[in-house]
Symmetry: C3
Subunit: 337 residues, 3 copies
């Protein structure tokens, strides 16, 4: 429990109202009670402000006069929400110590401050750093390395030689270091190409549940510092993702593509292989990125959603588009001759 004044100081926000008010949690505008703090960031929720029962609200200074309760004023209320939620977070911390059922190879090194959950496996030559939490059922492969203060939730798999930085979070079902999809054709049969690179995940990366990052074929796959990957993402071999890029769920990036820094890539996106995407590019949901993007900006593909009956008509015409364009040109020639 914290006073509103203490929260304001932590956030660098201006406090308007009772700075001694005690706050014990964060909630939404519509559900918060008098001991909770809410926030207003998305304009879609502005209408909920007048009726809020929150003890206080974090919002932009320009909206201060609309706030019926105590307020913390700052330019980026969503950041304020993130910060206060962290202050008041009561998620269970990892257990401490190593569970008796954890299996650690004699040649592995596990720092004394690390936690190993039930049934997790740390294979030969692996390294688990200080304050790392390895969840139940995780497998840290031979020679893999997990940097200090990182957390692997339950049932994460790291293949041999994979390197995870410090302060990373890997959610359940994540697989890092599986073989890239590399085969050569030999008279109708596929010949496997050994994938001899590895995966380097730099510091402060978060990786969502059931996301997969393949190891490189020769060089390494590399995920830059501060990258945030959502769930069920596919990162193919030799991909490089620049610092602080965020990628939403179910997106797939094909082999050897380089994604820039500070990009925001929405969900369900496909990015073809062997291209480069500049820094600060935004890719809209379910776009297929078919070629390199050389400067910051936003791209999209697709037709937009329609009622099926209308959509069928447009699709039928889509197939006729080239014919329509030629007929249009002929008409123009006739009329302008």
């Amino acid at each position: 429990m914290l006073t509103l004044g203490a929260i304001a100081e932590h956030l660098g926000a201006a406090c308007r109202g009772d700075s001694g008010r005690l706050i014990d949690g964060v909630a939404t505008l519509s559900s918060a009670g008098p001991s909770q703090i809410a926030f207003l960031s998305n304009p879609a929720y502005r209408a909920q402000l007048a009726a809020t029962k929150a003890g206080a609200v974090i919002l932009a200074p320009t909206l201060a006069d609309e706030c019926p309760v105590d307020a913390l004023l700052m330019q980026n209320p969503y950041l304020g929400f993130a910060q206060v939620a962290s202050l008041l977070d009561r998620s269970p911390p990892p257990a401490t110590g190593c569970h008796g059922s954890a299996i650690v190879h004699p040649t592995a090194v596990v720092e004394p401050s690390a936690h190993l959950g039930p049934n997790c496996v740390v294979e030969a030559g692996a390294y688990v750093g200080a304050n790392v939490a390895v969840g139940a059922g995780c497998v840290v492969g031979p020679g893999a390395r997990v940097g200090a203060d990182s957390r692997l939730w339950a049932n994460v798999t790291l293949y041999h030689g994979v390197r995870i930085g410090e302060r990373c979070i890997l959610h359940s079902g994540v697989v890092i270091g599986s073989d890239g999809f590399g085969f050569a054709q030999d008279r109708g049969q596929w010949v496997k190409i050994p994938q001899t690179g590895t995966v380097i995940v730099e510091d402060e990366v978060e990786i969502g549940a059931n996301t997969v990052i393949d190891r490189g074929a020769l060089d390494d796959t590399r995920i830059g510092r501060g990258v945030k990957l959502d769930n069920l993402i596919q990162v193919a071999h030799n991909v490089q993702i620049g610092e602080n890029t965020a990628i939403a769920g179910c997106t797939a990036i094909a082999g050897s593509t380089r994604v820039g820094r500070n990009c925001t890539i929405a969900g369900g996106v496909g990015i073809v292989g062997h291209i480069e995407i500049a820094d600060r590019v935004h890719v809209a949901a379910m776009t297929l990125v078919t070629k390199s993007i050389t400067e910051a900006g936003a791209v999209a593909s697709g037709t937009g959603m329609l009622p099926v009956a209308e959509w069928k008509k447009s699709v039928a015409r889509f197939r006729q588009l080239d014919d329509m364009a030629r007929r249009l040109r002929r008409l123009e020639a006739l009329i302008h001759k």
Copy 2:
């Protein structure tokens, strides 16, 4: 093994033929033998009826005269198939008792009739209800709750505090309760927003292999009673899915979206965040749902499939569509002036 008459009674179907015939299994029209029962529901398979070697066929009364063997007549033959297949199902039941290798925290409660498979882990304060089967390698996180008669196949992960209803089925690789994808921007860096809600899965929900459901940021993510989710689906934080909605594989639903009841959502669909979808909406495969849908009906997006050479022409013209539309309008103005 059951008589045809007993099956007819169970299904509420009319029996035409030898009600004493013994049936020991279900098979397709083309593969069934004389001790098996087949069904005809999809008209595409009607041509196989005449040559079937099945002992009996479940089909609509209007097709009775076409059936060369004994018949069970009912309006919904596919439902009949489901019911008789359940009657005759010989899938292995879960083992009974707790495997000696299961690890149960002293503060967890496991009902005596529950089954815990090899190497599964039940963490502090968790609850496993009566007749629940927890498969090998599953992790039931701290304070998580699994209702009576539910089944977790092998290697399912439930995070802390997740609540699973009764008679649910969770397939292998399912992850429930991982952190939602929530970050605030702070001068080019991402600041993590603690995800302090949980996931509520109501009764009779089935969840396919490797599907992920994230926990809520503040409120809870909620999956309504009788919902059926296929494999590799992404359900983001704070999503709500209404009762009896069915969603096919590889679909992704972004944060805070509400999906209505009795919707059918095909595979590979993307649904953006913060929208509402009414009851009884059908979404076609690989549609991107970009805004709220306020009434029952069907929506679609995309161009339809074409041979690559034709497709390239249409795509080139798609980029010129606005120009074409303007030129068409100019021609109309010239001609009609």
Copy 3:
């Protein structure tokens, strides 16, 4: 370490230069040093040839004169790369013997030459063939069968009765044999259809991380010999995939569809159910295959990527396409009358 001459002989390539040169690894044109061999296959990398520091390069005979270092000449340099990389592969082999923590049901059969990793589970009646490696945390379900020389990486799940051929590779998080998505409607509720078939995976199949293959409803799901599946793929019940077909990540194939032999299906593709795709069909990335394809060739769908501002204009016109087509026809009628 091998001589260039020995490698040439193994590859069936012509050696131009010092056949006694010692080679100890494979690397890219830009990163290889004098004891490594590189290759040139993708024309995009031809510019790197002149400056390579590699000890030798595998390339097509037509490019021999451009190569500044020793060369191995063959028509398919990418195949040569695959072969030499296999020769020199130093990926860690599976451990040998059975880890003491592996749990094997008394009725299961594990060949003495097989390896069982830590905490893996082999259930009743299962069979693990000669030289098979079962990784940590894997679950081989009741009656499942893994053929000789196959490798399951960590945390793979095989359901009851699944059959895996010889020399297969299954990556972490793979789930095989989960229930197909089959339900009948009964007055707004879903009635589960027991999935009583199984999954047959033939020899020399590789399956990428977190890919799911559902068991058949009545008949079996079948993956043909030599098929290569990438990560996060969904294969629904009763699908059949023909020999040597390769499918990239995040593709989904709906129920009862048959895919031919030697097809190449790119990533993010959706294929609807109950259709047939001929042999040697190529499907472009993120295509929705909506109907059967009866002959070899390439198909695609989608609009191509555009900057968002341009894309919005085209999308707005896409909705007007039928109207535009009708107006164009009216103009033609007016002008040609």
